[in-house]
């Protein structure tokens, strides 16, 4: 019956993004499996903290049981999420995290350091000689991208001494601006060997620029991309490989964990090991964060298959 079901809101950064739509698929899957869950898939259309707060406010008013949020801003959401928790709502963050005070646990799609390393490795694998690379990120305020770039910079000197990171630019997840920035990179750094874009809008823009400027084979575009949106550029050679985690599993796990916490089946505390249905188990660290699987790599051999899934 309606009243007994656990209402869980899956709040995303912005609606319409293929990545989050795929996550919603996983969420629905978890809901079916758990049986007593209603998923509310929602989020702002514009990826801003203020808009997300309005959404969360209306969820609080609807007295949902749990909120699982991928945050547009790690800090700005804290007050409103605290209010939610004060009113007895279970709050977790996933994908893009919220500061510790604003949630009970955070589910990282993958280990931050691992992602940082992976995005560099994706470029390095095809650059045995080494060379110049540049990063084209999303907006300068995006929490997770910034964390990955930090991590990437840290591993560079020890693990990839021949790779030189010459610039980090921001395309704001806006295709026009990303295109301008990618072009600028190619002009300013004639020796550029790879563009790393850890965001789906940026990586597509960069790949299109490389295609347009006839630089396929000279400049490799890589980063994080949804296979369904990026297949074209693996096929035409603008990119050798990209990586991503499984958004379906991520959405599935977020709902699963939110449910278990909401019905008090589990408790989130440092060191706890929580089980997530078919995905397995995660262990919380001392900030109550858990990381899921390492990023998965897509290249010519498997893109066809995955592009059909997400």
């Amino acid at each position: 019956a309606y009243a007994e079901n656990v209402k869980i809101a899956l709040v995303v950064k912005s609606l319409g993004n293929g990545f989050f739509d795929a996550a919603n698929k996983g969420a629905e899957e978890a809901a079916k499996e758990l049986g007593d869950v209603d998923v509310i898939y929602t989020g702002p259309t514009k990826a801003t903290a203020e808009a997300q707060i309005e959404v969360i406010n209306s969820l609080i008013a609807q007295k949902v049981n749990a909120i699982a949020v991928s945050a547009n801003d790690a800090d700005a959401l804290v007050p409103v999420l605290k209010k939610a928790m004060d009113r007895g709502i279970t709050v977790i963050s996933w994908d893009s995290g919220v500061a510790k005070e604003g949630r009970q646990l955070h589910l990282n799609p993958s280990d931050t350091n691992l992602i940082g390393e992976t995005i560099i490795k994706l470029a390095a694998d095809y650059l045995p000689e080494g060379g110049d690379v540049a990063i084209l990120s999303a907006s300068s305020t995006a929490t997770n991208q910034n964390a990955w770039i930090e991590a990437a910079k840290k591993v560079l000197p020890e693990k990839f001494p021949k790779i030189k990171l010459v610039a980090t630019v921001y395309g704001d997840d806006d295709s026009a601006k990303s295109t301008d920035e990618a072009k600028g990179l190619l002009k300013s750094y004639p020796n550029l060997k790879a563009i790393i874009a850890p965001t789906t809008v940026g990586v597509v823009a960069a790949a299109q620029v490389v295609t347009d400027e006839n630089l396929i084979g000279k400049v490799n575009v890589t980063g994080l991309a949804l296979p369904s949106e990026f297949k074209k550029f693996i096929d035409n050679g603008a990119s050798q490989a990209v990586a991503l985690w499984n958004p379906i599993d991520l959405g599935y796990s977020a709902i699963y964990l939110a449910h278990d916490l909401a019905v008090k089946k589990e408790e989130a505390k440092p060191g706890a090991t929580l089980s997530i249905g078919r995905v397995g188990k995660v262990t919380l660290d001392d900030t109550n964060s858990a990381a899921m699987a390492p990023p998965f790599q897509f290249d010519k051999t498997n893109i066809e298959k995955f592009s059909k899934i997400y």
Binding site: L15, D173, S175, T179, K187, S188, V201, A205, S228, K232
Partner: protein, 325 residues
């Protein structure tokens, strides 16, 4: 005095040249013809949009909905292309023009028939058209993979050494130039901005002319919609979000008076080029992207200050006339 307007464009052109010169000192390849051609191509869409906005501003109106129109039309043609890749591109362009025309006509109708100030109408349709994009697409994106190769490559094809996109921009510029200087409707558009009351008395149908300029800006928005989507190969609700202000800024820098009646095709094109060069050059001369916003803001303010200088009325000069007599 007759050359006054041309005068302003010469100054603007000088500004553009100086800007290119300045950039070249930090990035020598910038002034290469090949690079300049590319800058022109990169700015083409903005130039086209600025021309559409120009005719609206000339009539003392404003079209804030152009970027949303672009977004909606772009989404429609992208979805059409994804669903029916066989539709030839020229047909899609005609569809884009028509869809844009309809959206523009809605604005124009409200301004004309209900006499609602254009800024209010387009403030409303700004959100409505973008929202409608969400409704037609269900929020989903159309990405590069779903677009046909023709769809993407049409504007990139080289013709006489220039991409088709550049040619389209040049054709649009030429058309606007003809319309504004050589046709009655062009002069009516101008006259309405100079003095709407006098225009009524002169037998110009002010309302209908405003309707027409909104139709023009709508069609331009539609055309730009296709060009934009096939250029950046992603169609989403967020496409060109906030771009309406860039379009207006290009017009302002180009010396088009927001109070109507003053402005020219050359000005709009140069204004767009100026902004295009800035956004093109900042990444290559290693200015932190965080400076970009402040720089273009200052450029706008500077441009208005200079334009206002040029426009300042000189009074009637009774004394000098008396001496001359």
């Amino acid at each position: 005095m007759k050359n006054f307007l041309k005068y302003r464009e010469i100054w603007l052109l000088a500004g553009v040249v100086v800007l290119i010169g300045l950039i070249s000192t930090r990035f020598p390849g910038f002034a290469d013809p090949a690079n300049l051609r590319q800058v022109f191509n990169d700015t083409s869409i903005l130039m086209i949009l600025a021309l559409g906005q120009m005719v609206v501003i000339l009539t003392r109106s404003i079209d804030l909905s152009m970027a949303s129109n672009l977004c909606f039309t772009g989404m429609v043609v992208a979805m059409l292309n994804a669903a029916h890749p066989a539709i030839p591109i020229p047909v899609l362009i005609v569809i884009a023009l028509l869809v844009g025309l309809v959206l523009g006509a809605i604005n124009g109708f409200l301004v004309w028939r209900l006499n609602i100030p254009s800024i209010v109408v387009t403030l409303g349709t700004l959100t409505i058209y973008r929202g409608a994009t969400f409704v037609v697409s269900g929020g989903a994106w159309v990405n590069a993979d779903q677009m046909s190769p023709d769809f993407i490559n049409f504007q990139r094809a080289a013709f006489l050494g220039l991409p088709v996109l550049s040619w389209i921009a040049m054709i649009v510029i030429a058309l606007f130039f003809l319309v504004m200087t050589r046709t009655a409707i062009g002069r009516s558009i101008h006259a309405i901005g100079v003095n709407p009351t006098a225009s009524v008395y002169a037998g110009i149908d002010v309302g209908r002319t405003k309707f027409i300029v909104f139709c023009i800006s709508g069609m331009i928005g539609g055309l730009a919609g296709y060009l934009w989507i096939s250029r950046y190969v992603i169609a989403s609700v967020e496409v060109a979000n906030g771009y309406e202000l860039n379009i207006i800024a290009a017009c302002v820098i180009g010396g088009i008076s927001i109070a109507g009646g003053i402005g020219s095709v050359g000005g709009a094109v140069l204004g767009a080029l100026f902004l295009g060069i800035i956004s093109n050059a900042l990444p290559v001369i290693n200015i932190s992207p965080f400076w970009q916003m402040a720089i273009s803001g200052s450029a706008i303010i500077l441009a208005v200050v200079l334009n206002a200088r040029g426009e300042r009325r000189q009074g009637r000069i009774i004394l000098r006339k008396a001496e001359a007599a």
